[in-house]
């Protein structure tokens, strides 16, 4: 009876290549191979395998800093990895090839099954096989009722169990079927995989993701156009015209620090208070931007993803002119204590260019070593309770702001020299807010005016995300139907025997690979019991 158990897809098995093939035959054969279940299985496994390297090797899109470090550490492997696209696995040709093949296979698999299904939905339950007792699940009993009475009763009972029931005129058997939803669910699931992919593709083609570091205050406001971003990663088909014309500024930034208990020192709530307008001239509104609470304006989302300190430092050169002023972003090197590192460059200083590089300690303290002697300076707290900035001094070519070649966060020391004191120790200026230190050799002075805060804001637009989400939700629904609906057929045959009694045979056929014979037997028993009960009622 195995042919009855076959699902529509099961005949799509991979087959060996026939010996004599013309071109069309070859195409048809390849297509069959590609859309066979076994190929899908192998492609799925390949996809899993192909995803692995990207989780071990640093990825350009995720952490390009780690990639450049890796390159430095492995100068000989890096070019090979490059050739194999191992630094951007998920965008690589070979990774794409696998999932595109999988998608083609999927479409090739679904479309024929959709057609089969469309026919099957309207089809009547198939007639009873000749020998019901040969089916894996069957039972029978003998009664004195007339066959027609039994069959009419059976049709009622089974229909009540929400089967689709058919009792063709003049036949001795009732046929019933239920569970079409399983195949529907399966098709929905596989179709939804494609929907998800389309959603994701739309997002990565038409969307963008950008980031900007902002200080607090009106004068550091942001308006949403390309020039204002520090970094910007558009999709291949991104059109700047879709950028919403909003603007915002951070009026204030709050962090709540845990001050007692074991968790003392951890930060808890981060809130950037925004004033924003959705378009020029619109009414300004307020929003508290927090982690997990992005601001959504039209199709664009604004996220708070990082924060840190920006010491406001004024640098005067040897001539007494202000050559550098305002806040400078210092990057945290410790996420707990917010000890931060930064560079202040004054390439216009006279008589010599100067740069200050050093550490900012939000809560400065001298650490103690095991013997209790004062040792390294450190920050013991993330909050700015005892702020201190400690800067070394460099002169020479500190790197003009000539674009790509110099980062504002790093000092290129190849053409700069550090200023040392008479005793040979490097010169350091340790400043608390309000302090001014004269630089040696008549280079000028530095003043630590006070503290600013910076926030890293990420702004992104991913157009297909609702499509993708709808896709996965549909996929899940389909999956549930596909896994838990049990398609099955039932037949009841009643025949008058020679001795005048009626032999009633029942059989049941599971149509999914997940069917459980015990459940099947139980269902048959239930139906027999229901027939008995119905008979009692009638008499």
């Amino acid at each position: 009876m195995t042919d009855l158990q076959q699902r529509p897809s099961d005949d799509r098995q991979a087959t060996p290549l026939p010996a004599d093939l013309d071109a069309r035959g070859l195409v048809r054969w390849s297509w069959r191979q590609l859309t066979s279940m076994r190929t899908a299985l192998v492609l799925l496994l390949l996809l899993a395998l192909a995803a692995i390297p990207g989780s071990v090797i640093p990825q350009e899109d995720i952490d390009s800093l780690a990639v450049s470090q890796w390159r430095e550490d492995h100068p000989r492997l890096a070019p090979i990895w490059d050739r194999l696209d191992l630094f951007s696995v998920y965008g690589s040709a070979w990774f794409s090839a696998i999932y595109i093949l999988l998608m083609i296979s999927l479409v090739g698999c679904i479309v024929p099954r959709l057609l089969v299904y469309a026919r099957a939905v309207r089809a009547r339950p198939p007639r009873a096989p000749r020998h019901l007792s040969r089916l894996p699940q069957s039972t029978s009993y003998v009664t004195t009722d007339a066959p027609d009475v039994v069959l009419a009763r059976a049709a009622r009972v089974i229909r009540r169990r929400r089967f689709r029931v058919e009792w063709p005129e003049g036949t001795d058997a009732v046929a019933a079927e239920r569970g079409h939803l399983r195949e529907a669910g399966n098709l929905l699931f596989h179709l939804s995989v494609i929907i998800v992919l389309v959603g994701v593709a739309v997002g990565s083609l038409f969307g963008y993701k950008g980031g900007v570091i902002l200080f607090n205050g009106e004068e550091f406001g942001f308006s949403n156009n390309l020039t204002q971003y520090d970094e910007f990663a558009p999709g291949n088909l991104f059109d700047p015209a879709v950028m919403e014309p909003f603007s915002f500024e951070i009026t204030d930034f709050d962090v709540e620090w845990v001050t007692e208990g074991e968790r003392a020192g951890m930060a808890r709530e981060f809130v950037a208070h925004l004033d924003y307008t959705t378009e020029p001239g619109a009414e300004p509104r307020e929003y508290d931007l927090k982690v997990n609470h992005p601001l959504t304006i039209g199709g664009t989302d604004v996220f708070l993803i990082g924060h840190g300190y920006a010491p406001v430092v004024t640098v005067r050169d040897g001539d007494g002119n202000v050559v550098q002023s305002g806040p400078t972003v210092f990057l945290p090197t410790n996420a707990q204590t917010f000890e931060s590192f930064g560079v202040i460059k004054a390439p216009d200083a006279q008589p010599e260019q100067i740069a200050l590089e050093g550490t900012f300690y939000p809560t400065f303290a001298m650490g103690r070593d095991a013997e209790g002697n004062l040792s390294m300076p450190a920050s013991i707290w993330g909050d700015a309770l005892e702020p201190l900035v400690s800067l070394g001094l460099w002169t020479g070519d500190v790197g003009l702001d000539d674009g790509a070649s110099s980062s504002v966060y790093v000092l290129d020391k190849s053409k700069a020299t550090q200023v040392v004191k008479d005793n040979g120790q490097p010169f350091r200026a340790d400043l608390r807010p309000g302090d001014t230190v004269e630089l040696p050799d008549g280079l000028g002075s530095v003043t630590f005016e006070g503290l600013q805060r910076w926030n890293k804001i990420q702004i992104s637009r991913s157009p297909g995300k609702v499509v993708a989400l709808t896709g996965v939700v549909l996929a899940l629904l389909g999956l549930l139907a596909s896994l838990f609906v049990r398609p099955r057929r039932l037949w009841v045959r009643a025949r008058r025997q020679d001795d005048g009694t009626t032999l009633v045979e029942l059989a049941r056929l599971d149509r999914s690979s997940a069917g459980d014979p015990e459940d099947g037997a139980a269902e048959l028993a239930d139906i027999v019991a229901a027939l008995e009960a119905e008979k009692e009622e009638q008499s």
């Binding site: 996809l47 982690v291 990057l331 966060y409």
Partner: protein, 327 residues
């Protein structure tokens, strides 16, 4: 009670549960030992043997109850109170709870008590490992974790992990039983390979949609809120995806001639391996995960000494509350 008292209470609860599981395990072992040379067909007429089996189940039920109390206490010990799965220790305690709970619930519906010795041994071993090997510092949740999605996402991840783990145990049994010709002892009393395969499939069929929900629905929604992108190919995400794909392959294998049975069971084990590797192993291989529980998390990206031409964006490696737990 104060937080500190709750914390101690929770440890005591975990130890208490572990001891109860251990006793249950002994009872199961006693039962197995006394059945060692009894042919499989023969009924257990020894009173002591039947008692041992019943005792084991009762002990397991008590252990599960204590386990639950310990979990709740852990959540109450945190300040502010939170879900008890903020780090690997807590995730393991929660995961083993789900394994044991599903097992107990399953005994109500299907005859699966013979799986007891395996399940309970696994739970005892995992709890020991959690106690001895995993960092159990009780920390408040970082901001990034503070979201209702944490509850939904991790609950579903833990539940599916429990189901997949049970499914894997059944698949192991299937593979062993298939080659076994034993007529006495434990293996002989385990149901037919066909039944094992079907039970294993049921566990996976239950786990797979829940995993789909955890990894492909709630995970991305939460990631979108917290990190600004719904899918980042972060190592945890990659491995969750790999696990998903492997289990999809398992489901396909069960429907494909030539892959049913043995190969499907092997795939189920591969799936479980990727699942547990993602949970424990990946932390040792990759430090870039935003999910890292331990030190690797709020990773210090020293900017000093890095070549000058790095994009500023990447240098700002410190994400708000970036240390991330859960799954």
């Amino acid at each position: 009670m104060t937080d500190a008292q709750w914390e101690v209470f929770s440890y005591e609860g975990v130890i208490g549960a572990a001891v109860l599981y251990f006793l249950a395990m002994l009872a199961y072992f006693f039962e197995l030992a006394s059945l060692r040379s009894v042919p499989a067909g023969e009924d257990v007429d020894s009173h002591r043997t039947a008692m041992a089996r019943r005792l084991a189940l009762v002990l397991t039920v008590f252990a599960v109850a204590v386990h639950l109390v310990a979990l709740v206490a852990r959540g109450l010990a945190a300040d502010p109170n939170r879900v008890p799965w903020g780090n690997m220790y807590e995730f393991t305690v929660a995961g083993t709870f789900v394994v044991a709970l599903i097992f107990v619930l399953a005994t109500l519906r299907v005859d699966i008590e013979w799986l007891g010795p395996l399940v309970i041994t696994f739970v005892v071993a995992a709890l020991m490992a959690a106690f001895l090997g995993l960092d159990d510092t009780l920390l408040p949740l970082p901001d990034a974790l503070n979201s209702p999605w944490l509850v939904i996402h991790v609950v579903s991840a833990v539940i599916s992990t429990g189901a997949f783990t049970l499914g894997a145990l059944l698949s192991v049994l299937y593979l062993v039983k298939q080659r076994s010709t034993a007529t006495t002892g434990y293996l002989a009393r385990v149901p037919e390979p066909k039944v094992l395969d079907r039970l294993s499939y049921r566990m996976h069929a239950f786990g797979f949609p829940v995993w789909t929900f955890a990894v492909l629905i709630t995970g991305p929604i939460w990631a979108h809120q917290a990190w600004g992108a719904y899918w980042n190919w972060d190592p945890k995400e990659v491995w969750a995806f790999i696990t998903w794909v492997v289990y999809a392959a398992y489901l396909h294998a069960r429907a494909t001639a030539g892959w049913r049975g043995r190969n499907a069971a092997v795939l189920a084990l591969v799936g479980a391996a990727t699942l547990w590797f993602n949970f424990i192993g990946i932390n040792f291989f990759s430090s870039t995960s935003q999910h890292s529980y331990a030190e690797g998390a709020a990773e210090v990206r020293s900017v000093v000494g890095v070549a000058a031409t790095v994009e500023p964006a990447q240098e700002v490696g410190v994400v708000v509350g970036s240390d991330h737990a859960g799954a």
